[in-house]
Amino acid sequence: MEGEQPKPLLELRGISKSFGGVAALREVDFTLSEGEIHGLVGENGAGKSTLMKIIAGVHAAYQGRMQLAGRPVSFTSARDARDAGIGMVHQELSLVPQLTVAENVFLGAQPLTRFGTVDWPRMRREAARELESLGIEADPAAILGTLPLGLQQLIELARVLFSGARIIILDEPTSALSPPEIERLFSLLRRLRESGRSIIFISHFLDDVLQISDSVTVFRNGRRIAHAAVPTIDKAWLIENMIGRDHGELADSYVNRVELRGRPETDVALEVEGLSLTGAFSDISFRLHSGEVLGIYGFMGSGQLELAKSLFGRRPAERGTLRLAGRPVRLSSTSRARRAGLAFVPESRRSMLFAQEPVYKNVSIAILDHIHRFMLRPARERTIAHARIGDLGIRPPSAEIRLGALSGGNQQKVALAKWLTRQPLVLILSEPTRGMDVGAKEDVVRIIRKVRDEGIGVIVISTEPETVLSLADRILVMKKGAMTREFAAQWVGKDELLAAA
């Protein structure tokens, strides 16, 4: 590579785009070379997705120029971009889990026989060949939904490649993958690079970006802040450019090792013994002290998300006992769990909030019965909501605004807010910072620490080592539905967590 200038394949100059008067991109330049893996990092709202949507033809109205292979282009639709050889693999896969692998590879472009019916044998044959050439080991006749997520993602990649993409945009491809799956993805990406394809790799996982990319572009507040070749930069450089201020509390989650505080000398808030649920987890036992953050880490599918739901009574465990503050409890429903003093924020925002309703109704939903036995007291609800909005720094500070209009980070704060008016004994958080930008993450980390210091027992469940490392006083690792290891009062790094999981 040295000496010769790689040919620019895609060039954007002076791209600006605004939504309703708010600038999302300001005068951005971006160059993608042929056979390059180009990392793209920045906080949420920094402009990465907007730029990618312009490249993929989703946003047709913008200022600036775009050139593909030296020729000016302007896409009016995603189809235009696809026809020009630009493909995108979204974080949420756009495949059909009920169909076979072959059908998904050919989604929307099935080979037909002379009679206009689907040519099944040819479809299976070609899908098999396509997958094999990419080194993806999957049976074309298998139903997609039965395969591991990592493999599904590779199949979506195969579909994008099969549709003739020269430029592939990957949005957060590694967030749900285990290390071996990530390795497999990376080796496929390298192979594609050698065959002359160009890849844009968007991720919050800076290690992954540094490992796979040839060069990295950093976005902040709609501007391109920096661009550099990978060997010359490190994680600290990325973080500095991404947040543009002192790293603050969040630095913990990015540095490799943290010191766990260990178990505090307090009462046991929650004692779990021998909890089992078929197909999810078995024989789980642990103790949570009040005023402690217990992290539970494991790869996707290790059973920790199911454990969280089970503790909150959503999918009651089949065997095992629970004691809350020493008293045995049977949590057969979420309303019982709530009344017993448990609180839970699930991993998906969609399943914890009422997007159509104003903020105050979202905050008060969990305490209506404590406000009045039968009636609503909207004035009281609003007062409480305003108090929480103040405590947690929810923006904009309005109790009346429809929740769906808030940013993701603020929605997450509202989800926390509903449990903080009447303090629970135990607060269970599933993926509390997933998909959030650095600023919002920092706020959430601060809130969780404050809650802990008020004496609540907190369980943080995550598939991201950074999340657990940045929050936990003690870490339990789950693997295939069982607890495999505990880290307490010691130095621990991401590598050790990964090794234990």
């Binding site: 959503r314 429903s333 979420t334 924020v345 399943s351 909030l353 997007a355 019965d369 009636m375 209009a405």
Partner: protein, 341 residues
């Protein structure tokens, strides 16, 4: 200059947003105003006081059923058994009332109070079965209540065996067919049920839960709301409202027989949906249902006044219902896109 333009633009944007948000409630209201104006001009007899009384009387039975259904639909469930349960309750009170000797039914006469109580108990019980099958066994309410539609029809058939009974307890007789001054009692009853239901939905904790469960059941569950209990309650409320409507209806029509209320199922669902309560749950209310009832009531009654072929009437009703459904779905889409932005 620039600033004024911007303010204007912002105001225009806000107006548009409010219109978008309210499309589902504005459209039915506009339809109602249009229909009243149209029939008022087309037929001099339409706007008479006597006819107004007529309209009220005609929509009262549908109205009581539709109120119960409003709870169910707000919860994003459906109850297809309302008419069947109304029929059961009507037949049950007749069955437990002394009938004329010409009526050939093996009935068991009880005092009026007991008959009414048994009518309510039967509807409560059938609603309970709907609820149990839906929340405990996990059948979709669409299926459960479809089965209950048949079960209800079966119970009626077994009780009356093709005969017609005429007598109902005196209290029900008065409420169903009497009037105080110019106002029919049945309309007063409907208004009372509507008022109570409105208060429950707007001002009680239970009402809030109904909206929240309909808005996002998963989120309600994760907020520690007893979703199962709420769904049980709305199905039972719906059944009891239907039962009440059925008892009054039997008195109103002066007879209790099989398949008496069959037309009322579609009418009551139509009233709720035409009024603008979301088929996906979470938005709407009694106010909307009242508008929907009036639209249907005015339409049914008005078409009689302008002497249209009765077969065309059915077609027109179908088209109005289709239009309402389209607006309902379209409004939902606007709302979702608004929430996502």
């Amino acid at each position: 200059m620039d600033a004024t333009a911007r303010t204007e633009r912002r105001t225009a944007g806000r107006t548009r947003r409010i219109l978008k948000d309210r499309l589902r409630t504005i459209a039915p209201f506009a339809t109602l105003v249009f229909l009243v104006a149209f029939f008022g001009i087309a037929s001099p007899s339409f706007l008479s006081f006597a006819n107004l009384q007529n309209v009220l009387q005609q929509i009262s039975i549908t109205g009581i059923m539709a109120v119960g259904l409003t709870f169910v639909i707000l919860c994003a469930e459906i109850d297809l058994s309302v008419a069947a349960i109304a029929n059961v309750a009507g037949v049950v009170i007749a069955f437990f009332t002394v009938q004329d000797s010409s009526v050939n039914i093996a009935n068991i006469p009880l005092s009026g109070g007991w008959a009414i109580l048994l009518g309510f108990a039967a509807s409560f019980l059938l609603g309970g079965v709907n609820a149990a099958a839906t929340t405990m066994i996990g059948l979709p309410s669409f299926i459960t209540t479809l089965a209950m539609l048949e079960i209800g029809a079966g119970i009626c058939a077994v009780l009356v065996r093709g005969q017609i009974a005429y007598a109902v307890p005196p209290l029900i007789q008065t409420l169903g067919s009497g009037s105080i001054g110019p106002v029919p009692w049945i309309a007063v009853m409907a208004a009372l049920v509507m008022l109570i239901s409105h208060l429950v939905l707007r001002y009680t904790r239970f009402g809030r839960y109904v909206y929240m469960v309909g808005g996002n059941r998963e989120a309600a569950e994760y907020s520690g709301v007893n979703v199962r209990w709420i769904v049980n309650s709305v199905l039972i409320i719906s059944a009891v409202c239907s039962g009440f409507a059925g008892m009054l209806g039997v008195a109103h029509f002066g007879s209790a027989q099989q398949n008496e209320f069959d037309n009322y199922l579609l009418d009551s669902i139509a009233a709720v949906v035409v009024g603008g309560t979301s088929l996906f749950g979470g938005s709407g209310g009694i106010g909307e249902t009242i508008i929907g009832l009036l639209v249907l009531g005015v339409l049914n009654n008005g078409l009689d006044h302008v002497s249209i072929d009765s077969f065309v009437k059915i077609l027109i009703r179908g088209l109005i219902l289709l239009a309402a459904l389209i607006i309902n779905i379209y409004a939902q889409r606007l709302r979702e896109s608004g929430a996502a932005a």
